[in-house]
């Protein structure tokens, strides 16, 4: 099966007055892909989505849908539809007429129209809500109607602007799975804007991490998690311990470093290019274990003291202060066979192959 790039963004920049909110963006999204734009608020992700929808025009650069240049096309002529952050359900007409809204030009018979509306409502599991008004719907129901209203147009691309942001956690998690299933069954390209890294991780085929108008990394969720390209990405996706280190010597494929709080360490088979002497060493909390006595199965064992414990149910986070250092390490554990309490002495253990070099 040949998958082609449906959306292409070339050298795109956007400024509002003196503020450059998007800086030379290049991006390609495959047909049928669930693609997320992830970043903190103000990173330009919503502006990028609005450019794709046609609500904003880029200052420079071009946008292609299926090899057609749509850069200056208004939103009503684009094969994309949008689910708005606040859903934008028309308050003066009922659900039925909201969903029919975009079908005016298709000259459907009354029966066909009814069928399309019914199918759309079925898709979002809200059959029988035709006569409700926006103010008679809950947040979750409005969100589904907004989805149905966009999908009834059978768009090539569905643009979603933080559609789950206003829902409570439980409902949000349900909708994540539902959206993902819907996207798979329809085969439509989804562009999903979110600031919630968990949401992006669980739903997406690929994620573009953005910050200050730049795309920092475009990769599948696992790749982003395990091989973050820089410090920002590593810290934005999941939790991570980042430690400063100095390179002592480089030989063959071994790297001898002096880590600020661990002392000298050896990294084997490192492949990244080292540009200067100061580097960042990173390790995920779940790659460190915590124990009462030092664990010889790991390369390194350090003594420390449990400062704080955060219990999340499925996992527990320990904040361990290393002896002879100010540094506090985050350690996570799925279960606590050895019950620790705050101020207990402990050992943290890890292997050198879990240590990553991260660019600034």
């Amino acid at each position: 099966m040949s998958i082609k790039n449906y959306i292409k963004i070339k050298n795109l920049s956007k400024s509002f007055g003196d503020v450059e909110v998007l800086k030379n963006i290049n991006l390609e999204v495959e047909e049928g892909e669930f693609f997320s734009l992830l970043g903190p608020s103000g990173c330009g992700k919503t502006t990028l989505l609005r450019i794709l929808a046609g609500f904003e025009y880029p200052s420079e650069g071009e946008v292609f849908f299926d090899d057609a240049n749509v850069t200056s096309l208004p939103p009503n002529l684009r094969p994309s539809n949008m689910v708005f952050q606040n859903y934008a359900i028309f308050p003066h007409i009922n659900v039925q007429r909201n969903i029919e809204f975009g079908l005016r030009k298709e000259n459907l018979s009354k029966d066909e129209m009814q069928k399309r509306v019914e199918n759309a409502l079925k898709m979002v599991q809200l059959e029988g809500y035709e006569n409700r008004y926006s103010n008679q719907l809950s947040g979750g129901q409005r969100q589904r109607i907004a989805l149905a209203r966009a999908l009834v147009k059978q768009p090539k691309v569905l643009l979603l602007d933080e559609p789950l942001g206003a829902l409570d956690k439980k409902l949000r998690e349900e909708m994540q799975i539902e959206l993902r299933n819907l996207q798979k069954s329809l085969g439509i390209t989804f562009i999903f804007v979110t600031h919630d890294q968990e949401e992006a991780m669980t739903m997406s085929d690929r994620i573009a991490v953005m910050d200050e108008g730049n795309i920092l990394q475009v990769s599948p969720p696992k790749e982003i998690y395990h091989n973050p390209k820089n410090k920002f990405v590593s810290q934005f996706i999941g939790n991570i311990n980042i430690l400063g280190a100095e390179i002592k010597s480089v030989s063959n494929e071994n790297l001898l470093i002096e880590v600020d709080c661990f002392g000298s360490m050896q990294l084997k088979n490192y492949q990244q290019i080292i540009e200067n002497d100061r580097i960042n060493i990173a390790i995920r909390p779940e790659e460190i274990t915590i124990s009462k006595i030092s664990d010889p199965n790991y390369d390194y064992n350090f003594q420390g003291n449990v400062k704080n414990i955060s219990f999340y149910g499925e996992s527990t986070y320990f904040y361990v202060q290393l002896n002879n250092s100010d540094k506090i390490l985050m350690v996570s554990k799925n279960e606590t066979k050895e019950p620790f309490s705050e101020n207990d002495n402990c050992f943290v253990n890890f292997s050198s192959n879990n240590l990553k070099i991260i660019k600034d």
Partner: protein
């Protein structure tokens, strides 16, 4: 009634008495069988209403006022509608200054506008009459309409218009399918307010109307004749009733066709 609320209750009674007793005197005396507006009432009569209705000059004045009121309210609402859209939806240069300029006619005394208009109109060699009155009323009503429509426009979510565009409608259809119905309560309010302002406007009409009297000018001219005074009371009573009916109709229209919803605001 609890003791501690007594003072509040008394205050309320005085408040409403102050507001409504002068107004209610008109209908009461309009049924009084006497030329003089003094107590005690003499007797009950419909004569003043019948006599009033037989006056052809009153018919003409009423017709003039309605004509001017309808044209002025429609035109000023129309102008204000698009101006309000531009003002709230696009980045207008000198936003603060423009807003001030919109509000300015409120503080310029009406008589100044009247004098200015009469000078302009006559210096152009044009005849005074209902046309300059209508134009002056449009000028006078537009800022009121602007204020109503701007606040209405600011109250509704811009993304509703974007959603319409996104669903395939161009700006024209978006306006008629989304913006206009959502603004309708504001438009009705604007039409009614402009009509009422024009209907009882005196100074501009006095300066510019010449021999084409509007209703307030007619009423004023009749006050010179004591025997005609009760007709004016009868006319005033009718105006109060009709105006109240218009406002109630407007309120009813506002809530019509929106399900149980009484407000367009989007609660998110």
């Amino acid at each position: 009634m609890y003791n501690k609320n007594n003072t509040l209750f008394i205050y309320c009674v005085f408040y409403f008495a102050f507001l409504y007793i002068p107004v209610l005197l008109l209908p009461i005396f309009s049924f009084n069988d006497s030329f003089h507006m003094v107590f005690p009432l003499k007797g009950f009569t419909f004569d003043w209403y019948i006599q009033m209705w037989n006056k052809s000059r009153l018919h003409q004045a009423l017709f003039n006022s309605i004509k001017v009121g309808i044209i002025a309210s429609v035109v000023s609402t129309f102008i204000a509608l698009f101006a309000a859209k531009a003002f709230t939806r696009y980045k207008v240069k000198f936003h603060g200054l423009s807003y001030g300029a919109i509000l300015l006619p409120f503080i310029i005394p009406e008589i100044i506008i009247a004098v200015a208009l009469i000078v302009i109109w006559t210096s152009m060699g044009l005849k005074l009459g209902l046309i300059p009155v209508t134009i002056s009323h449009i000028l006078f009503c537009t800022p009121f309409c602007m204020l109503i429509l701007i606040s209405r426009m600011e109250g509704f979510d811009k993304s509703l218009e974007e959603a319409s565009m996104d669903l395939g409608e161009n700006s024209f259809w978006t306006f008629w399918r989304v913006t206009f119905p959502l603004l309708l309560p504001g438009i009705i309010a604007s039409l009614l307010l402009a009509f009422v302002i024009s209907f009882d406007e005196f100074i501009l009409a006095f300066f510019l109307s010449s021999s084409d009297q509007t209703l307030p000018i007619y009423m004023w001219s009749q006050l010179r004749f004591p025997k005609k005074f009760p007709h004016i009371l009868a006319l005033g009573a009718i105006i109060i009733i009709v105006t109240s009916l218009i406002v109630m109709t407007a309120y009813w229209l506002r809530n019509l066709g929106q399900g149980k919803k009484k407000d367009f605001s989007i609660g998110i």
